[in-house]
């Protein structure tokens, strides 16, 4: 072993670390931007980039206020109750800075109002400073919201689908009738058809049955393919599994027409059946591969013990296939959760998350605060599933590399 070889290794690996870390940053920054923005007050989102939250924030007049007033009146202006700087009544008396200057020139208990430090002696400079302080007092009096850097209000707006001029919670508090025509301002708003809350429910309604159904049907079929003998077994298997290659675009129009004739447009069972069909070929392929790997003796001895196919399917094949079912289930669930095309066509009146997000897009780019919140709401479940079951998900995805 050469001396310094480990040190040498570290140095020779520096380009690798640099490249990899740079790539990871590139990959994470766009999502981070969305995440940070979803927690920023609407006005901030409109006027400044999300990266500014990492810089110290400048509120107009904050430095001036801190210099001259904060030591007596406190950071929130409420320290001296007889002179509450955050009260709107007090502000009414000082519409402009010259009125405030006159007031400040008066002594308090024989001492100058402002002595440490004193106001600039140049009257113009003094007025300039005071107008900034007044601005700051106004922001204090408007409930202190101007100072808030992060908020959950975007998420409230996104959940109920509120696109008013202020935010949902504020408008509800103030009872702005014109903006609230479609809202009750109670928990029933969570089910407002234009909101992400309802969309979340719709997505769950689609994803859960359409995950279970194809796996169950595929388990039956795979059992027949692996543990039963019948004519045409090989050929049928190849045909069913080969149907993986059919892109779903190939079936959209006839199914949409069929549903229109049967009155099944925008029904949940309509979309369950469609997703079941498209999940089946791959599910049969994966389940059959897995079941084929189970020891044959197991099934034979079960039969000797008096089990029939029905019992050995439920009591042996299905429980033993749990790893395959897990991989398949996670893969199918995430696919359904993230699907847009099928839901857009077959569930027009019951928008799922992805469809609802596109409904919230403002072409002029005016509602990033809602969109970012809405997008992140739709990420929570897939991200949890992904980080909790990463290995299963990756397995399902890589094995499904050829899925149509």
């Amino acid at each position: 072993m050469k001396p310094f070889s480990s040190l040498n290794r570290i140095f020779s690996n520096i380009p690798i670390h640099a490249a990899l870390i740079l790539l990871c940053l590139l990959w994470i920054v766009p999502t981070l931007g969305l995440f940070v923005t979803s927690f920023r007050p609407r006005e901030d989102v409109r006027t400044s980039g999300w990266w500014t939250v990492f810089q110290p924030r400048q509120v107009v007049g904050e430095t001036e206020y801190d210099t001259y007033c904060a030591s007596c009146h406190g950071a929130d202006g409420k320290e001296i109750s007889a002179a509450d700087l955050s009260s709107p009544e007090l502000l009414v008396d000082y519409p402009r800075s010259n009125r405030l200057l006159t007031a400040l020139r008066k002594d308090i208990d024989g001492k100058p109002h402002l002595s440490d430090p004193a106001l600039p002696s140049n009257p113009n400079k003094a007025l300039d400073t005071l107008s900034k302080i007044l601005d700051y007092m106004r922001s204090l009096s408007s409930g202190g919201t101007a100072k808030e850097r992060f908020t959950l209000r975007n998420y409230a707006d996104a959940l109920v689908g509120y696109k008013g001029t202020q935010d949902y919670l504020t408008d509800c508090q103030q009872g702005v009738a014109s903006a609230l025509a479609k809202f009750q301002c109670n928990s029933s708003d969570l089910l407002n058809p234009e909101g992400m809350g309802r969309a979340l429910l719709n997505t769950i309604m689609v994803a859960v049955p359409a995950t279970i159904l194809p796996i169950l049907l595929a388990a039956f079929a795979a059992y027949a393919f692996t543990w039963m003998d019948f004519k045409g077994r090989q050929l049928l298997f190849i045909i069913l599994v080969g149907l993986q290659i059919v892109p779903l675009q190939m079936t959209l129009v006839p199914i949409a027409r069929l549903y229109a004739q049967l009155g099944m447009q925008s029904t949940f069972y309509g979309i369950w059946l469609f997703h079941t069909a498209f999940g089946l070929p791959y599910a049969i392929f994966l389940m059959s591969n897995f079941l084929r790997g189970l020891p044959r003796e197991l099934f034979e001895s079960a039969y000797i013990d008096g089990a029939n196919h029905w019992i050995s399917f439920w009591n042996m094949a299905l429980p033993l296939a749990l790893p395959a079912i897990a991989a398949l289930g996670i893969f199918q669930f995430l696919w359904l959760w993230n699907d847009f095309l099928v839901a857009k066509i077959f569930l027009t009146t019951q928008p799922v998350l992805t469809v609802q997000i596109t409904n919230l897009i403002d072409p002029r780019g005016g509602n990033w605060h809602i969109l970012t919140g809405a997008a992140f709401l739709s990420f929570i479940i897939p991200m949890l599933v992904f980080f909790a079951f990463q290995r299963y998900f990756v397995r399902g995805l890589t094995a499904g590399a050829v899925k149509g």
Binding site: I16, A19, L20, C24, W27, I28, G33, L34, R46, S48, G49, W50, A221, Y223, W227, F230, R233, L243, I245, V246, P247, Q249, M250, T251, L252, V253, I255, A256, R257, L273, F274, T276, A277, F278, I284, R296, E300, Y303, N308, S312, L334, W337, N338, D339, F340, I357, T358, W368, T372, S378, F379, P382, M383, V385, F386, F387, F393, V394, L397, A401
Partner: protein, 303 residues
């Protein structure tokens, strides 16, 4: 291989197969045939495609919808864009996936780095579209740029760019999103192949004096070449069917149209053309699919 010892009736296997086969027949087999039939009919599916020909205009008779699919200017843009995506984005994404897989293999925080690159695959393409619309946002009214890319440009003293509506850059901007989404997918599969290589061969190369690049070029790449082919063909299929990203980011406007988006737009207004485009899509996809499945099975058999 099937245990014949277990008794079964003649129909029992078909009872187990019936539910799956019924659903597949009604929702895949029948609609496939019906789609092909509809592609030869007019916009309502009521008469032959020839009936939608206008006098004095070119007409391909029963293949009229295919004339549209192959010669209409919008469709030509879509075909050109899909070709561009295939030629530019697929190689870049596969190469990037390979680079990350190789780099991550040599560091201790491998699983973290791979999770970061793979993460976009877990979220919806619609959500990814929102993420990137925000990155590409342009403020043209004179206010501060809130989109990161334009803020950087302005910070460097340059003019902001309308990433999504300027035809000079918008297709590249969309492809960047595609790369961001799919690099993790390529990386995962390629990484699994690299892990499968025997350590002895790599070490033997090192002993023989090969440096990192030589090992990569002469040992790693040739040995995982079948996997690279599978990943590439899978990406070709994904890109032929690309839809969500374009739909949510530009709606196919400003010269960014793609085949699947065109098909989607016509579903409501013109059955004949929409199904003809679907058939075109399948015709383009099937050879790649066939090749890919064969490779995949060979891979499986070798394992």
């Amino acid at each position: 291989m099937v245990p014949t010892i277990m008794k079964q009736g003649r129909i029992a296997p078909f009872l187990y197969l019936l539910p799956a086969m019924a659903v597949i027949t009604i929702f895949i087999v029948y609609p496939m045939i019906e789609t092909v039939r509809l592609s030869f009919t007019n916009r309502y599916g009521t008469g032959t495609a020839a009936s939608s020909c206008l006098p004095g205009n070119p007409c391909w008779g029963i293949f009229e919808n295919y004339r549209y699919a192959l010669t209409n200017p919008e469709m030509l843009t879509a075909l050109r864009n899909n070709a561009l995506w295939l030629l530019l984005m697929v190689p870049v994404t596969v190469a990037l996936g390979l680079v990350v897989a190789i780099l991550a293999d040599r560091v201790r925080y491998e699983s973290l780095a791979k999770a970061v690159i793979f993460m976009p695959m877990a979220i919806s393409f619609i959500g990814a579209g929102i993420i990137w619309r925000f990155m590409y946002n342009i403020e043209s009214g004179g206010g501060a740029q809130t989109g990161l890319l334009n803020a950087i440009l302005v910070g460097l003293g340059l003019q902001p760019v309308a990433w999504l509506s300027n035809p000079a850059v918008n297709n590249l901007a969309l492809m960047a999103v595609g790369t961001w989404l799919w690099a993790g997918f390529c990386m995962t599969i390629l990484s699994a192949a690299i892990k499968g290589l025997s350590v002895e061969i790599i070490e033997a190369a090192h002993v023989d004096g090969a440096n990192g690049w030589q090992t990569f070029r002469n040992i790693t790449v040739p040995m995982i070449w079948p996997t690279i082919l599978v990943v590439t063909t899978t990406m070709v299929i994904n890109i032929l069917k690309i839809f969500d990203i374009v739909f949510v980011m530009t709606g196919g406007n400003f010269g960014t149209e793609v085949i699947a988006n065109r098909m989607f737009k016509l579903i409501v207004t013109d059955l004949g053309r929409s199904t003809a485009i679907a058939v075109l899509l399948v015709v383009l996809t099937i050879p790649v699919m066939y090749y890919n499945m064969r490779r995949f099975r060979e891979e499986e058999a070798m394992r």
